[in-house]
Symmetry: C2
Subunit: 243 residues, 2 copies
DNA sequence: CTGGTCCGTTTTGTGCACAATCCGCGGCGT
DNA sequence: ACGCCGCGGATTGTGCACAAAACGGACCAG
Protein backbone atom coordinates (compact mmCIF):
# COMPACT_ATOMS: atom_id res chain seq x y z
CA UNK A 1 0.00 0.00 0.00
CA UNK A 2 1.32 3.39 -0.95
CA UNK A 3 1.95 5.91 1.73
CA UNK A 4 -0.02 8.73 0.21
CA UNK A 5 -2.03 9.01 -2.93
CA UNK A 6 -1.67 12.31 -4.66
CA UNK A 7 -4.78 13.03 -6.56
CA UNK A 8 -6.94 16.03 -7.10
CA UNK A 9 -9.99 14.14 -5.97
CA UNK A 10 -8.36 13.67 -2.59
CA UNK A 11 -7.92 17.31 -1.95
CA UNK A 12 -10.48 17.13 0.83
CA UNK A 13 -8.20 14.75 2.68
CA UNK A 14 -4.77 16.04 1.77
CA UNK A 15 -5.51 19.72 1.72
CA UNK A 16 -7.47 20.10 4.91
CA UNK A 17 -6.54 19.66 8.47
CA UNK A 18 -4.69 21.60 11.12
CA UNK A 19 -1.18 21.16 9.88
CA UNK A 20 -1.89 21.62 6.20
CA UNK A 21 -0.11 24.95 6.09
CA UNK A 22 2.82 23.69 8.11
CA UNK A 23 3.13 20.80 5.70
CA UNK A 24 3.19 23.08 2.69
CA UNK A 25 5.70 25.39 4.34
CA UNK A 26 7.98 22.46 5.05
CA UNK A 27 7.51 21.09 1.59
CA UNK A 28 8.38 24.32 -0.16
CA UNK A 29 11.11 25.08 2.33
CA UNK A 30 12.77 21.75 1.70
CA UNK A 31 12.44 22.16 -2.03
CA UNK A 32 14.24 25.46 -1.76
CA UNK A 33 16.93 24.11 0.55
CA UNK A 34 17.44 21.17 -1.81
CA UNK A 35 17.70 23.61 -4.72
CA UNK A 36 14.95 21.99 -6.65
CA UNK A 37 13.66 25.55 -6.57
CA UNK A 38 16.64 27.75 -7.40
CA UNK A 39 16.79 31.41 -6.36
CA UNK A 40 14.65 33.63 -8.53
CA UNK A 41 12.11 30.94 -9.35
CA UNK A 42 8.63 32.32 -9.61
CA UNK A 43 6.12 30.78 -7.24
CA UNK A 44 2.74 31.30 -8.84
CA UNK A 45 -0.13 31.05 -6.42
CA UNK A 46 -2.46 29.15 -8.69
CA UNK A 47 0.11 26.52 -9.61
CA UNK A 48 1.07 25.87 -6.01
CA UNK A 49 -2.57 25.69 -5.03
CA UNK A 50 -3.10 23.03 -7.65
CA UNK A 51 0.02 21.08 -6.72
CA UNK A 52 -0.84 20.91 -3.05
CA UNK A 53 -4.55 20.56 -3.56
CA UNK A 54 -5.51 23.58 -1.51
CA UNK A 55 -7.17 26.88 -2.19
CA UNK A 56 -5.22 29.82 -3.43
CA UNK A 57 -5.45 31.82 -0.22
CA UNK A 58 -3.93 29.06 1.78
CA UNK A 59 -0.96 29.23 -0.54
CA UNK A 60 -0.98 32.97 -0.12
CA UNK A 61 -0.72 32.60 3.62
CA UNK A 62 2.14 30.14 3.27
CA UNK A 63 4.00 32.49 0.98
CA UNK A 64 3.56 35.26 3.51
CA UNK A 65 5.12 33.08 6.18
CA UNK A 66 8.03 32.11 3.96
CA UNK A 67 8.53 35.75 3.05
CA UNK A 68 8.78 36.60 6.74
CA UNK A 69 11.56 34.05 7.01
CA UNK A 70 13.27 35.69 4.05
CA UNK A 71 13.17 32.48 2.08
CA UNK A 72 10.90 33.95 -0.55
CA UNK A 73 10.59 37.54 -1.71
CA UNK A 74 7.18 39.09 -2.20
CA UNK A 75 7.01 41.76 -4.84
CA UNK A 76 3.74 43.71 -4.83
CA UNK A 77 1.52 42.92 -7.80
CA UNK A 78 4.26 40.73 -9.20
CA UNK A 79 4.10 37.67 -7.05
CA UNK A 80 6.39 35.49 -4.96
CA UNK A 81 9.89 34.42 -5.91
CA UNK A 82 12.48 32.23 -4.30
CA UNK A 83 14.73 34.70 -2.53
CA UNK A 84 18.02 35.57 -4.16
CA UNK A 85 20.31 36.90 -1.48
CA UNK A 86 22.80 39.61 -2.21
CA UNK A 87 26.46 38.96 -1.55
CA UNK A 88 26.23 41.25 1.42
CA UNK A 89 23.29 39.38 2.84
CA UNK A 90 25.08 36.08 2.30
CA UNK A 91 28.07 37.31 4.26
CA UNK A 92 25.81 38.57 7.02
CA UNK A 93 24.03 35.24 7.26
CA UNK A 94 27.26 33.33 7.60
CA UNK A 95 28.56 35.80 10.16
CA UNK A 96 25.33 35.44 12.11
CA UNK A 97 25.69 31.68 11.99
CA UNK A 98 29.18 31.91 13.39
CA UNK A 99 27.93 34.07 16.21
CA UNK A 100 25.20 31.65 17.14
CA UNK A 101 27.02 28.41 16.50
CA UNK A 102 29.99 29.58 18.51
CA UNK A 103 27.64 29.93 21.46
CA UNK A 104 26.12 26.53 20.72
CA UNK A 105 29.47 24.78 20.63
CA UNK A 106 30.66 26.60 23.73
CA UNK A 107 27.58 25.32 25.52
CA UNK A 108 28.25 21.80 24.28
CA UNK A 109 31.87 21.95 25.39
CA UNK A 110 30.70 22.83 28.86
CA UNK A 111 29.01 19.43 29.12
CA UNK A 112 31.12 17.04 31.13
CA UNK A 113 32.60 14.22 29.11
CA UNK A 114 31.73 11.58 28.30
CA UNK A 115 28.69 12.95 26.50
CA UNK A 116 25.30 11.51 27.47
CA UNK A 117 24.61 8.26 25.66
CA UNK A 118 21.56 9.57 23.85
CA UNK A 119 23.43 12.53 22.49
CA UNK A 120 26.37 10.47 21.39
CA UNK A 121 24.11 7.93 19.77
CA UNK A 122 22.14 10.49 17.82
CA UNK A 123 25.28 12.17 16.61
CA UNK A 124 26.78 8.91 15.42
CA UNK A 125 23.55 7.86 13.76
CA UNK A 126 23.48 11.16 11.95
CA UNK A 127 27.06 10.87 10.81
CA UNK A 128 26.29 7.42 9.44
CA UNK A 129 23.42 8.79 7.41
CA UNK A 130 25.55 11.62 6.09
CA UNK A 131 28.30 9.27 5.03
CA UNK A 132 25.87 6.98 3.32
CA UNK A 133 24.39 9.86 1.38
CA UNK A 134 27.93 10.86 0.52
CA UNK A 135 28.81 7.39 -0.78
CA UNK A 136 25.58 7.21 -2.72
CA UNK A 137 26.34 10.56 -4.26
CA UNK A 138 22.95 11.82 -3.15
CA UNK A 139 23.71 15.48 -3.19
CA UNK A 140 20.27 16.65 -2.17
CA UNK A 141 20.14 14.37 0.84
CA UNK A 142 23.61 15.50 1.81
CA UNK A 143 22.61 19.13 1.79
CA UNK A 144 19.56 18.48 3.89
CA UNK A 145 21.46 16.29 6.34
CA UNK A 146 24.21 18.83 6.66
CA UNK A 147 21.71 21.45 7.76
CA UNK A 148 20.10 19.01 10.14
CA UNK A 149 23.46 18.30 11.72
CA UNK A 150 23.96 21.89 12.78
CA UNK A 151 20.40 22.06 13.96
CA UNK A 152 20.88 18.90 15.98
CA UNK A 153 23.79 20.48 17.79
CA UNK A 154 21.69 23.53 18.57
CA UNK A 155 18.98 21.32 20.00
CA UNK A 156 21.48 19.66 22.29
CA UNK A 157 22.58 23.06 23.51
CA UNK A 158 19.12 23.35 25.04
CA UNK A 159 18.00 26.76 23.86
CA UNK A 160 15.00 26.31 21.59
CA UNK A 161 14.86 30.01 20.81
CA UNK A 162 18.41 30.08 19.53
CA UNK A 163 17.80 26.83 17.69
CA UNK A 164 14.81 28.38 15.94
CA UNK A 165 16.84 31.37 14.87
CA UNK A 166 19.58 29.12 13.62
CA UNK A 167 17.08 27.06 11.65
CA UNK A 168 16.17 30.17 9.71
CA UNK A 169 19.79 31.05 9.13
CA UNK A 170 20.52 27.57 7.87
CA UNK A 171 17.74 27.82 5.32
CA UNK A 172 19.11 31.12 4.18
CA UNK A 173 22.58 29.61 3.99
CA UNK A 174 21.26 27.07 1.53
CA UNK A 175 19.89 29.91 -0.51
CA UNK A 176 23.18 31.76 -0.39
CA UNK A 177 25.05 28.64 -1.44
CA UNK A 178 22.65 28.05 -4.30
CA UNK A 179 23.11 31.62 -5.44
CA UNK A 180 26.88 31.91 -5.16
CA UNK A 181 28.28 28.40 -5.39
CA UNK A 182 31.33 28.02 -7.54
CA UNK A 183 30.98 25.48 -10.32
CA UNK A 184 34.09 23.68 -9.17
CA UNK A 185 34.87 22.83 -5.58
CA UNK A 186 32.93 21.22 -2.86
CA UNK A 187 34.77 19.46 -0.11
CA UNK A 188 32.37 17.08 1.50
CA UNK A 189 31.11 18.25 4.84
CA UNK A 190 30.54 14.74 6.12
CA UNK A 191 34.18 14.23 7.05
CA UNK A 192 34.39 17.66 8.67
CA UNK A 193 31.31 16.85 10.69
CA UNK A 194 32.84 13.60 11.82
CA UNK A 195 36.03 15.29 12.90
CA UNK A 196 34.00 17.81 14.82
CA UNK A 197 32.08 15.13 16.69
CA UNK A 198 35.29 13.34 17.56
CA UNK A 199 36.79 16.54 18.88
CA UNK A 200 33.66 17.20 20.88
CA UNK A 201 33.69 13.74 22.42
CA UNK A 202 37.33 13.33 23.19
CA UNK A 203 39.35 16.24 21.89
CA UNK A 204 41.14 18.92 23.89
CA UNK A 205 39.06 21.89 25.08
CA UNK A 206 38.45 24.44 22.36
CA UNK A 207 39.27 22.02 19.59
CA UNK A 208 35.63 21.46 18.65
CA UNK A 209 34.99 25.18 18.60
CA UNK A 210 37.99 25.77 16.37
CA UNK A 211 36.84 23.07 13.96
CA UNK A 212 33.35 24.47 13.78
CA UNK A 213 34.52 27.99 13.05
CA UNK A 214 36.85 26.68 10.37
CA UNK A 215 34.07 24.57 8.95
CA UNK A 216 31.78 27.57 8.59
CA UNK A 217 34.58 29.68 7.19
CA UNK A 218 35.29 26.93 4.70
CA UNK A 219 31.71 26.76 3.51
CA UNK A 220 31.62 30.50 3.04
CA UNK A 221 34.95 30.54 1.28
CA UNK A 222 33.62 28.08 -1.26
CA UNK A 223 31.26 30.76 -2.47
CA UNK A 224 32.01 33.36 -5.06
CA UNK A 225 30.82 36.38 -3.16
CA UNK A 226 32.61 38.81 -5.43
CA UNK A 227 30.32 38.02 -8.32
CA UNK A 228 28.30 40.97 -9.50
CA UNK A 229 24.58 40.71 -9.06
CA UNK A 230 22.94 39.44 -12.22
CA UNK A 231 22.41 42.07 -14.84
CA UNK A 232 25.27 44.18 -13.56
CA UNK A 233 27.94 42.09 -15.21
CA UNK A 234 30.68 44.01 -16.88
CA UNK A 235 30.23 43.03 -20.52
CA UNK A 236 33.61 44.40 -21.46
CA UNK A 237 35.53 42.16 -19.10
CA UNK A 238 33.40 39.16 -19.99
CA UNK A 239 34.35 39.33 -23.67
CA UNK A 240 37.81 40.81 -23.13
CA UNK A 241 39.96 37.93 -24.37
CA UNK A 242 37.59 36.65 -27.04
CA UNK A 243 38.02 37.02 -30.76
CA UNK B 1 0.03 71.61 14.34
CA UNK B 2 -0.38 68.04 15.35
CA UNK B 3 1.65 65.42 13.61
CA UNK B 4 -1.17 63.08 12.75
CA UNK B 5 -4.87 63.34 13.08
CA UNK B 6 -6.52 60.14 14.10
CA UNK B 7 -10.06 60.08 12.91
CA UNK B 8 -12.34 57.43 11.58
CA UNK B 9 -13.43 59.63 8.72
CA UNK B 10 -9.88 59.57 7.45
CA UNK B 11 -9.82 55.87 6.97
CA UNK B 12 -9.59 56.22 3.22
CA UNK B 13 -6.37 58.17 3.65
CA UNK B 14 -4.89 56.55 6.71
CA UNK B 15 -5.88 52.99 6.02
CA UNK B 16 -4.74 52.65 2.44
CA UNK B 17 -1.39 52.80 0.87
CA UNK B 18 1.62 50.57 0.51
CA UNK B 19 2.95 50.73 4.00
CA UNK B 20 -0.37 50.47 5.77
CA UNK B 21 0.39 47.04 7.10
CA UNK B 22 3.88 47.98 8.19
CA UNK B 23 2.41 50.93 10.04
CA UNK B 24 -0.09 48.76 11.87
CA UNK B 25 2.58 46.21 12.73
CA UNK B 26 4.76 48.95 14.18
CA UNK B 27 1.85 50.48 15.99
CA UNK B 28 0.79 47.26 17.65
CA UNK B 29 4.37 46.22 18.22
CA UNK B 30 5.13 49.45 20.04
CA UNK B 31 1.97 49.20 22.07
CA UNK B 32 3.05 45.76 23.20
CA UNK B 33 6.61 46.85 23.94
CA UNK B 34 5.28 49.83 25.89
CA UNK B 35 3.00 47.48 27.80
CA UNK B 36 -0.11 49.36 26.90
CA UNK B 37 -1.08 45.89 25.73
CA UNK B 38 -0.04 43.52 28.51
CA UNK B 39 0.62 39.83 27.86
CA UNK B 40 -2.54 37.83 27.46
CA UNK B 41 -4.58 40.72 26.07
CA UNK B 42 -7.02 39.61 23.44
CA UNK B 43 -6.61 41.24 20.07
CA UNK B 44 -9.99 41.03 18.41
CA UNK B 45 -9.86 41.40 14.66
CA UNK B 46 -12.95 43.54 14.29
CA UNK B 47 -11.87 46.01 16.97
CA UNK B 48 -8.43 46.46 15.50
CA UNK B 49 -9.89 46.87 12.05
CA UNK B 50 -12.06 49.66 13.36
CA UNK B 51 -9.26 51.33 15.29
CA UNK B 52 -6.90 51.43 12.35
CA UNK B 53 -9.57 52.06 9.76
CA UNK B 54 -8.77 49.05 7.64
CA UNK B 55 -10.56 45.91 6.64
CA UNK B 56 -10.57 42.87 8.84
CA UNK B 57 -8.35 40.77 6.58
CA UNK B 58 -5.63 43.33 6.64
CA UNK B 59 -5.64 43.05 10.42
CA UNK B 60 -5.60 39.31 10.00
CA UNK B 61 -2.47 39.52 7.91
CA UNK B 62 -0.79 41.79 10.44
CA UNK B 63 -1.61 39.39 13.24
CA UNK B 64 -0.10 36.57 11.23
CA UNK B 65 3.11 38.54 10.87
CA UNK B 66 3.24 39.38 14.56
CA UNK B 67 2.59 35.75 15.40
CA UNK B 68 5.56 34.77 13.27
CA UNK B 69 7.67 37.10 15.37
CA UNK B 70 6.30 35.44 18.51
CA UNK B 71 4.91 38.71 19.75
CA UNK B 72 1.36 37.49 19.55
CA UNK B 73 0.00 33.99 19.91
CA UNK B 74 -2.59 32.70 17.48
CA UNK B 75 -4.96 30.14 18.91
CA UNK B 76 -7.12 28.45 16.27
CA UNK B 77 -10.75 29.47 16.44
CA UNK B 78 -9.99 31.51 19.52
CA UNK B 79 -8.18 34.49 18.14
CA UNK B 80 -5.00 36.44 18.69
CA UNK B 81 -3.50 37.29 22.08
CA UNK B 82 -0.49 39.24 23.18
CA UNK B 83 2.10 36.55 23.77
CA UNK B 84 2.80 35.51 27.33
CA UNK B 85 6.24 33.95 27.42
CA UNK B 86 7.00 31.08 29.75
CA UNK B 87 9.83 31.47 32.23
CA UNK B 88 11.86 29.12 30.12
CA UNK B 89 11.28 31.13 27.00
CA UNK B 90 12.19 34.31 28.85
CA UNK B 91 15.49 32.81 29.93
CA UNK B 92 16.15 31.63 26.41
CA UNK B 93 15.47 35.06 24.98
CA UNK B 94 17.88 36.74 27.35
CA UNK B 95 20.50 34.12 26.70
CA UNK B 96 20.06 34.62 22.97
CA UNK B 97 20.43 38.36 23.47
CA UNK B 98 23.68 37.85 25.31
CA UNK B 99 24.96 35.69 22.51
CA UNK B 100 24.16 38.26 19.88
CA UNK B 101 25.00 41.39 21.79
CA UNK B 102 28.32 39.96 22.82
CA UNK B 103 29.14 39.67 19.13
CA UNK B 104 27.85 43.18 18.53
CA UNK B 105 29.99 44.72 21.25
CA UNK B 106 33.02 42.71 20.20
CA UNK B 107 32.59 44.14 16.71
CA UNK B 108 32.27 47.65 18.13
CA UNK B 109 35.36 47.24 20.26
CA UNK B 110 37.28 46.32 17.14
CA UNK B 111 36.65 49.80 15.77
CA UNK B 112 39.68 52.00 16.28
CA UNK B 113 39.21 54.77 18.76
CA UNK B 114 38.20 57.49 18.66
CA UNK B 115 34.83 56.38 17.36
CA UNK B 116 33.59 58.02 14.15
CA UNK B 117 31.94 61.35 14.84
CA UNK B 118 28.56 60.32 13.55
CA UNK B 119 28.48 57.28 15.77
CA UNK B 120 29.55 59.17 18.80
CA UNK B 121 27.05 61.93 18.14
CA UNK B 122 24.14 59.55 17.72
CA UNK B 123 25.04 57.70 20.87
CA UNK B 124 25.24 60.89 22.90
CA UNK B 125 22.01 62.20 21.45
CA UNK B 126 20.35 58.97 22.39
CA UNK B 127 21.70 59.07 25.91
CA UNK B 128 20.38 62.59 26.28
CA UNK B 129 16.92 61.48 25.26
CA UNK B 130 17.03 58.57 27.66
CA UNK B 131 18.05 60.77 30.53
CA UNK B 132 15.37 63.28 29.78
CA UNK B 133 12.73 60.55 29.72
CA UNK B 134 14.18 59.35 33.00
CA UNK B 135 13.96 62.79 34.61
CA UNK B 136 10.45 63.25 33.28
CA UNK B 137 9.49 59.90 34.76
CA UNK B 138 8.18 58.84 31.37
CA UNK B 139 8.38 55.13 31.87
CA UNK B 140 6.97 54.17 28.49
CA UNK B 141 9.41 56.35 26.60
CA UNK B 142 12.25 54.96 28.68
CA UNK B 143 11.36 51.41 27.79
CA UNK B 144 11.16 52.19 24.12
CA UNK B 145 14.40 54.16 24.16
CA UNK B 146 16.18 51.43 26.04
CA UNK B 147 15.31 48.95 23.31
CA UNK B 148 16.34 51.42 20.63
CA UNK B 149 19.71 51.85 22.30
CA UNK B 150 20.60 48.22 21.94
CA UNK B 151 19.31 48.24 18.39
CA UNK B 152 21.40 51.30 17.60
CA UNK B 153 24.52 49.47 18.71
CA UNK B 154 23.63 46.53 16.49
CA UNK B 155 23.20 48.88 13.54
CA UNK B 156 26.65 50.29 14.13
CA UNK B 157 28.05 46.79 14.13
CA UNK B 158 27.11 46.68 10.47
CA UNK B 159 25.28 43.38 10.19
CA UNK B 160 21.67 44.10 9.27
CA UNK B 161 20.72 40.45 9.54
CA UNK B 162 21.93 40.18 13.12
CA UNK B 163 20.31 43.52 13.89
CA UNK B 164 17.00 42.22 12.60
CA UNK B 165 17.22 39.15 14.75
CA UNK B 166 18.10 41.25 17.73
CA UNK B 167 15.15 43.53 17.08
CA UNK B 168 12.86 40.56 17.47
CA UNK B 169 14.58 39.45 20.63
CA UNK B 170 14.29 42.92 22.11
CA UNK B 171 10.56 42.95 21.50
CA UNK B 172 10.30 39.59 23.18
CA UNK B 173 12.38 40.87 26.06
CA UNK B 174 9.83 43.58 26.64
CA UNK B 175 7.20 40.91 26.72
CA UNK B 176 9.19 38.84 29.18
CA UNK B 177 9.74 41.85 31.40
CA UNK B 178 6.06 42.70 31.30
CA UNK B 179 5.21 39.15 32.26
CA UNK B 180 7.75 38.60 35.01
CA UNK B 181 8.67 42.01 36.38
CA UNK B 182 8.91 42.22 40.13
CA UNK B 183 6.68 44.81 41.72
CA UNK B 184 9.63 46.42 43.44
CA UNK B 185 12.95 47.12 41.83
CA UNK B 186 14.00 48.74 38.68
CA UNK B 187 17.38 50.31 38.44
CA UNK B 188 17.31 52.83 35.66
CA UNK B 189 19.06 51.61 32.55
CA UNK B 190 19.95 55.13 31.42
CA UNK B 191 22.95 55.36 33.71
CA UNK B 192 24.12 51.89 32.76
CA UNK B 193 23.85 52.82 29.12
CA UNK B 194 25.90 55.94 29.71
CA UNK B 195 28.61 54.00 31.49
CA UNK B 196 28.68 51.57 28.62
CA UNK B 197 29.12 54.30 26.04
CA UNK B 198 31.92 55.85 28.08
CA UNK B 199 33.66 52.50 28.31
CA UNK B 200 33.24 52.00 24.60
CA UNK B 201 34.67 55.40 23.78
CA UNK B 202 37.58 55.53 26.16
CA UNK B 203 37.62 52.54 28.46
CA UNK B 204 40.13 49.70 28.52
CA UNK B 205 39.59 46.82 26.06
CA UNK B 206 36.90 44.41 27.21
CA UNK B 207 35.40 46.86 29.65
CA UNK B 208 32.46 47.70 27.41
CA UNK B 209 31.76 44.02 26.82
CA UNK B 210 31.85 43.31 30.54
CA UNK B 211 29.44 46.15 31.24
CA UNK B 212 27.03 45.01 28.56
CA UNK B 213 26.97 41.42 29.84
CA UNK B 214 26.41 42.67 33.35
CA UNK B 215 23.71 44.99 32.13
CA UNK B 216 21.81 42.16 30.47
CA UNK B 217 22.32 39.92 33.46
CA UNK B 218 21.01 42.70 35.64
CA UNK B 219 17.87 43.14 33.61
CA UNK B 220 17.19 39.43 33.69
CA UNK B 221 17.87 39.22 37.39
CA UNK B 222 15.23 41.85 38.02
CA UNK B 223 12.66 39.35 36.83
CA UNK B 224 10.92 36.79 38.93
CA UNK B 225 11.47 33.81 36.70
CA UNK B 226 10.66 31.31 39.42
CA UNK B 227 7.03 32.33 39.42
CA UNK B 228 4.73 29.58 38.28
CA UNK B 229 2.74 30.23 35.14
CA UNK B 230 -0.65 31.66 35.96
CA UNK B 231 -3.18 29.09 36.96
CA UNK B 232 -0.52 26.60 37.93
CA UNK B 233 0.28 28.29 41.22
CA UNK B 234 0.76 25.97 44.12
CA UNK B 235 -2.11 26.97 46.36
CA UNK B 236 -0.66 25.07 49.28
CA UNK B 237 2.55 27.07 49.37
CA UNK B 238 0.74 30.33 48.76
CA UNK B 239 -1.37 29.92 51.87
CA UNK B 240 1.20 27.96 53.87
CA UNK B 241 1.94 30.48 56.63
CA UNK B 242 -1.51 32.01 56.81
CA UNK B 243 -4.05 31.40 59.52
C1' DC C 1 -24.51 25.28 45.96
C1' DT C 2 -22.07 22.51 42.45
C1' DG C 3 -21.85 20.72 37.98
C1' DG C 4 -23.70 19.85 33.41
C1' DT C 5 -26.16 20.79 29.10
C1' DC C 6 -28.29 23.65 25.69
C1' DC C 7 -28.75 27.62 22.88
C1' DG C 8 -27.98 32.52 21.20
C1' DT C 9 -24.55 35.66 20.20
C1' DT C 10 -20.17 36.90 18.94
C1' DT C 11 -15.86 35.98 16.73
C1' DT C 12 -12.98 33.55 13.65
C1' DG C 13 -12.13 30.85 9.22
C1' DT C 14 -12.62 30.20 4.21
C1' DG C 15 -14.07 30.27 -0.50
C1' DC C 16 -15.44 33.20 -4.19
C1' DA C 17 -16.08 36.94 -7.19
C1' DC C 18 -14.45 41.03 -8.82
C1' DA C 19 -11.10 44.89 -9.09
C1' DA C 20 -6.39 46.34 -9.89
C1' DT C 21 -2.03 45.66 -11.76
C1' DC C 22 1.50 43.92 -14.65
C1' DC C 23 3.73 41.44 -18.69
C1' DG C 24 4.24 40.48 -23.50
C1' DC C 25 3.31 41.69 -27.99
C1' DG C 26 2.04 44.06 -32.00
C1' DG C 27 1.55 48.41 -34.31
C1' DC C 28 3.08 52.89 -35.35
C1' DG C 29 5.91 56.87 -35.88
C1' DT C 30 10.47 58.75 -36.28
C1' DA D 1 16.21 49.77 -36.72
C1' DC D 2 14.87 51.75 -32.42
C1' DG D 3 11.71 53.32 -29.15
C1' DC D 4 7.05 54.51 -27.59
C1' DC D 5 2.23 53.52 -26.88
C1' DG D 6 -1.67 50.75 -26.04
C1' DC D 7 -4.25 46.48 -25.79
C1' DG D 8 -5.32 41.50 -24.41
C1' DG D 9 -4.38 37.85 -21.31
C1' DA D 10 -2.91 36.36 -17.09
C1' DT D 11 -1.84 37.00 -12.22
C1' DT D 12 -2.24 39.15 -7.92
C1' DG D 13 -4.97 41.95 -4.39
C1' DT D 14 -9.17 42.83 -1.72
C1' DG D 15 -13.75 42.99 0.05
C1' DC D 16 -17.73 40.30 1.04
C1' DA D 17 -20.75 36.68 2.31
C1' DC D 18 -21.35 32.62 4.50
C1' DA D 19 -19.77 28.57 7.28
C1' DA D 20 -17.74 26.93 11.58
C1' DA D 21 -16.57 27.30 16.15
C1' DA D 22 -16.29 29.14 20.88
C1' DC D 23 -17.86 31.91 24.80
C1' DG D 24 -21.31 33.15 28.10
C1' DG D 25 -25.58 32.87 30.30
C1' DA D 26 -29.71 30.48 31.47
C1' DC D 27 -31.78 26.65 32.93
C1' DC D 28 -32.05 22.29 35.24
C1' DA D 29 -30.81 18.19 37.95
C1' DG D 30 -28.58 16.32 41.93
Amino acid sequence: MMKTVLSASRRAVRGRGEGAEARIVRSIGEAIADRRLPPGTKLAEESLAEVFGVSRERVRKVLLLLAQRRVVTLIPNRGAFVAKPTAREAREVFEARQVIERAVVEALERIRRPLPDEMSAKLRAHLAREEEADRAGDRMALIRLSGQFHLLLADFAGNATLAGILADLIDRSSLAIAAFERRSSHSCSATEHRRFVEALESGPPGEALRLMMEHLDGVERQLDLDARPDGAVDLKSVFADRT
